[in-house]
């Protein structure tokens, strides 16, 4: 009992003051002039637990994809640190260490049409993983492993010889999942894995992701803009707004009892397929502020219906206001939306 308890609270990935900004230039005739920085990820400190599904939601441009890429060391951070299984991932310089980390953490992409090389067959796409990570594996064994992975993801043996264009969107996403599983990773960052799919196919892929997670005891960082999807699969949900996580809570608590005004509005804006459900709808005024010019104090205050003087002066800290429920707001709301 104690052992399982301990492993469930084990931290697999921890970020400390993680920042990533992109310079923005205006091209002139002679030279480029720097006009500012887009702070895509702005000081994020979180802990992701072993075996959990960590859902990350937010509107387009909030930095959720950048966050996913930075914690996989696919984009160098501007500052801050990320620790995976006790190792500082941004310090890995040599190939051996980098390969080790790739084996631990994998990515599933949004667009199953762009993330597979059209010139390679499925067996080559997945087999490539073994050529890189398991050198010396025989061709025969490689083939067997590929077929096993395909079957695991709901595809047939004969699919191995086909090319990406011969598959439907859902099947391609299955190939992407099989490829990510090939290295037997501990962590998978799934970046909008179902947004390009129709509902019926989306349901298949969500079920598949749930199944393999249970089977291999995986940890997911599940990034999506659709809160219903995130809520369906996640244990904990975090919302990002203009580069910052503004609220983090366990799924049920998050949906039933949002404390940040942005979360409250986000939840109330999601159409629910039940015409008899009566609920409060909060319509946020205006658009998201430009990430080039983030408002002072609380970055949400320009759209917040509860904003007060203090919100424009002091940036609210990201604090635990009830057990396991973190919010960055000076005046957390008490909201019951359902």
């Amino acid at each position: 009992m104690t052992i399982s308890n301990q492993t469930s609270t084990d931290i697999i990935l921890e970020t400390k003051n993680l920042k990533k900004s992109f310079p923005v230039y205006v091209k002139g005739v002679v030279r480029k002039t720097l006009v500012g920085y887009i702070r895509a990820v702005d000081d994020i400190t979180i802990k992701i637990r072993k075996g959990e599904v960590f859902g990350l939601v937010g509107e387009s441009g909030c930095g959720k994809t950048t966050f996913g890429r930075v914690v996989l060391n696919l984009l160098p951070p501007t500052s801050g640190d990320a620790i995976f299984d006790g190792q500082r991932i941004f310090d890995m310089k040599d190939r051996k260490e980098a390969l080790w980390f790739r084996k631990q953490a994998q990515l599933i992409f949004q667009d199953p049409y762009l993330s597979l090389n059209p010139r390679l067959s499925v067996s080559e796409i997945i087999g490539e993983v073994f050529i890189i990570h398991s050198r010396g594996m025989s061709k025969q064994e490689r083939r067997e492993r590929v077929v096993k992975l395909l079957n695991l993801c709901g595809l047939e043996d004969y699919h191995a010889l086909r090319y990406p264009h011969e598959f439907s969107g859902g099947q391609r996403q299955r190939i992407g999942i099989a490829r990510a599983l090939a290295v037997e990773p501990q962590l998978i960052v799934a970046d909008e894995p179902v947004s390009a799919l129709d509902v019926a196919v989306q349901a298949q892929i969500l079920n598949l992701l749930k199944d393999i997670r249970k089977r291999f005891n995986l940890t997911y960082i599940f990034i999506a803009h659709d809160l219903s999807v995130v809520r369906h699969i996640s244990d904990r949900i975090a919302v990002m707004y203009l580069g910052k996580i503004v609220e983090l809570a366990p799924g049920e608590d998050f949906v039933r009892n949002p404390r940040h005004p942005y979360t409250e509005a986000l939840i109330s804006a999601i159409p629910i397929p039940d015409p008899t459900l009566e609920r409060k709808q909060i319509i946020l005024p205006g658009d998201v502020a430009s990430p080039l010019n983030i408002p002072s104090g609380c970055r949400f205050r320009t759209r917040c219906i509860y904003a007060k003087q203090k919100c424009s002066e002091v940036e609210p800290p990201f604090e635990e206001i009830s057990p396991d429920h973190f919010v960055a707001c000076h005046y957390p709301v008490e909201s019951k939306l359902f």
Binding site: E59, S60, S168, G170, D198, V199, A200, V201, Q202, A203, Q204, L206, N207, K210, H225, L227, S228, V229, R231, H232, I233, G251, E252, V255, A265, L266, I267, S268, A269, I270, P271, I272, P273, D274, P275, T276, L277, Q281, I283, L284, G286, D287, V288, F338
Partner: protein, 346 residues
Amino acid sequence: MTIVEQSIREDDIGISNQDNDILVEVKDLTTYFYTEFGIVRAVEGVSFHIKKGEFFGLVGESGCGKTVTALSCLNLVRFPGMIEGGQVFYKGKDVLKLKDKDIRKIRGAEISMIFQDPLSSLNPVFTVGEQIAEVISLHEDVKKDVAKERAIKLMEEVGIPLAQERVDDYPHQFSGGMRQRVMISRALSCNPTLLIADEPTTALDVTIQAQILEIIRGLQKKFGMSVLLITHNLGIIAENCQRVGVMYGGHIVETAAVKTIYKDPRHPYTQALMAAIPRLDLSIDKLQTLPGSVPDLIDPPTGCRFHPRCSYATSKCAEVVPPLKIWTSDHEVACHHHEEINASKD
């Protein structure tokens, strides 16, 4: 304001249809696309009606023929598409039989349309004010400055801040949500009796989606127009529409009042669709899935197009196309076996 006065005038005219409540009636609409790979049977035998002042939804997965249905209603299907048969009655007249000159008077004035991607439906080299005013001067004999004044009023109506200044801006200077507002104000410029909104919020973030839908709802109430809303999102249908048609593979499989269909979906496809969506308000362990994939409309399944994926299918389903039959007063189902399937429920 001019807008209100005109919409009252429209209502006084009345319609020559036998049922005075019905604004648009689509009967047996069939549209094919003649491609090099074969004939795509995109829409086949589609019938539905929209009442005056009604918010009607058309829902289905991508490629099921929702958009083609809407375009056919305005006779806007382009080569290689052809409307093969059927009628679209608008105020008693068959739109598909009208001359180009006459249908142009309806398009944009009485029936207007907004699209999924507002950036590609706005002309990048004209200011938004010019584009809204263009529609007004096309349909009404007004001076340029009057048209521009009206454009500003319309922009205010849909909640574009500082409309007076922004009227001379170009589409690229607007955000996605603001562009869709421009599109809506353009569609509203001649007080349409029917607004066709084809996935109007799919390209937008949820908080902006909520804004846009609120605007459409508000305008619909204010001006009493009918709305045909096309979407793949069952949540949007539930929160906005009064009646809904469910499409699958170019056929309408079920139409009903929204309150009825969510409580008692009769067609196996509607049932499957509803069981496949993750819910924000409920925690579901496993979503139901459908075997197979959407039909290829070049070579669609015979009989009921859903039968290869349907767990209740019999040999009859593979042979006979089930007609859309009335089940209760406001509920039509196109399924041979829906009574047996739902026997336990009834």
